[in-house]
């Protein structure tokens, strides 16, 4: 009876699937079971829909491309009117495991994040009002929102809730490292294991721990040696207004790090080797030998998990009443 109740309670949670106990500082990624498939399907369409931008060109997937590790692989992103973004776009993969969203954590969760780029003049450059007006004019969306939310009027909160629900499904379980954590000792090589040992003994795991191997704290960029960059982002201080938080950024996840180049909030590290060596120097005061950084690189590449796999969504067509995209309007 108690077991039945436990099973019932677990079924209400977002994450489950029995995970072998492990005392390692990095924990396996737990596959997410989709609780509300209609909500997730709606969110998937919205994630791919460029009509949420003023231009009709930029979708969530433009900067968080699910063909490319949930990132755009650019130093900084291209926004409305080709404006250069101020910071590197982080991967959307496993982002629900982060303590908050954006590099400075200014959005408390994925839903709060999803509304940001839509009305940012340098990104999608729409407004929440226009985005909702566009969706409300598309019969296919009206029917889907109605089926999911049981309301005739679409709201921006429903839009961002659906996008967040889709994003929560974007986990990448079953990496070779996770297979090793779960007990398959043949899943990683001797070199990769040596890299993991070095990753731990060098204290990388002090920040890059947990299921996401990161995402759980804010840390100063340049803890031991100042980090020199032309990027003007000041980090967490913009949210807390506490000088102690100047130049603190959310520790990025290392899951799928092989796919999410270039690295750091300024995208200045073009290669993973650059990133490892710079981290060693500025955060840990260490200079890794080529052998050492090679081992750490080998380990990091075992963190590439199964990528989200789904059919390209088909978007419902605009109606005659849909406000038309304005890619070349300059005001």
């Amino acid at each position: 009876m108690k077991l039945h109740r436990l099973a019932f309670c677990l079924s209400l949670m977002g994450a489950y699937i029995a995970v072998a106990a492990t005392t390692e500082p990095i924990q396996p990624i737990v596959a997410v079971r989709v609780e509300k498939p209609n909500l997730v399907e709606l969110g998937k369409k919205l994630f791919f829909d460029p009509r949420l931008s003023k231009s009709g060109v930029i979708s969530c997937n433009s900067c968080h491309n699910l063909s490319m590790g949930g990132s755009d692989n650019l130093t900084s992103s291209v926004g409305h009117l080709w404006k250069e973004g101020p910071i590197n776009s982080p991967t959307v993969l496993n982002s629900s495991l982060s303590l908050a969203q954006f590099w400075d954590g200014r959005a408390k969760d994925l839903q709060a994040q999803a509304g940001g780029p839509i009305d940012n003049p340098g990104e999608m450059a729409s407004t929440h009002r226009l985005a909702v007006e566009v969706l409300q004019s598309i019969p296919g969306y009206v029917a889907e929102f109605n089926a999911v939310f049981c309301e005739d009027r679409i709201t921006i909160d429903e839009v961002t809730l659906a996008i967040a629900a889709f994003e929560k499904t974007l986990s990448t379980p079953n990496s070779r490292f996770d297979q090793w954590l779960m007990g398959n000792k043949k899943a990683i090589s001797t070199e990769e294991l040596a890299g993991y040992a070095l990753f731990k003994s060098s204290a990388c795991v002090a920040c890059h721990d947990g299921p996401a191997a990161g995402g759980k704290s804010y840390q100063k960029m340049g803890l031991v040696t100042p980090y020199v960059t032309s990027n003007t982002a000041q980090g967490r201080v913009g949210v807390t207004h506490d000088e102690a938080d100047r130049f603190k950024f959310k520790v990025p996840t290392l899951r799928n790090v092989e796919l999410t180049y270039p690295y750091f909030h300024d995208g200045a590290a073009a290669t993973l080797k650059d990133a490892v060596n710079t981290m060693g120097r500025i955060q840990l005061g260490k200079t890794f030998s080529d052998t050492e950084s090679g081992q750490i690189l080998a380990f990091l590449k075992t963190l590439t998990g199964e990528q989200p796999s789904f059919k390209l969504p088909l978007l419902p067509p605009s109606s005659d009443n849909t406000p038309r995209p304005q890619p070349f309007a300059r005001k």
Copy 2:
């Protein structure tokens, strides 16, 4: 024995599936069977890969979005550095049925077309040499090209051949109109059938015929009444240098026309109703009543077929040697 040989021969062709004989001017779309799945899979990745552009932002799918009827639903497309394209991007769906590619037919086939945008400074703004250099630096692509073409060196001809092979699979069979053509008389309504009758009796079918309901000839835009536009495209004359071809454009397919707004080479018709009424006026010298244009609209919407359905491709990651995208380089 003969039947066996016939079946064998048919299996070597690109298109088959028994099609009921019909004397109608519009013929059913024939589903394409994939002959070389590895080539098509490679082409699909390339079609979605923004690394074929200088910026790392623009892929084939940017302007021929397979979530949106194979078009971008813009009057004209957004190119490198947000440059405004000179002409409306036609749908890639069923494009293999066209007599040639581009509005002026300057590319003889899909392979010839595929190379155009890659090195067009106003579109993807790369060069064929750089595009190949990028692909050659990506181990995942090298392995795939090698498996498909049995050669170590990637060539631009292989790139465009693969993209074209994928594009050839982008047919949209089994529309309601095709079901009707194939004998299911309940597949379309009385109003839709009246629209088709009017479409024929008004001579729309003179140009919009065959399986694609278009794509088989060049016609002057403004045959009866001059077409007024601020767009400077001159059409087929640019290819033939024959004054008689000035302002002649390839007749677009009407397949999936419900999804491929806005219409005409200049994208000036925002709605399908605008397009139908303008076509009546400038090509046929007719003014359709609201009832008539409503019937034609209803018929045209029966031409929406089954959209290509496939998993979002996962792209192989760049290597440390891959030339990095240059979205903000101004030269």
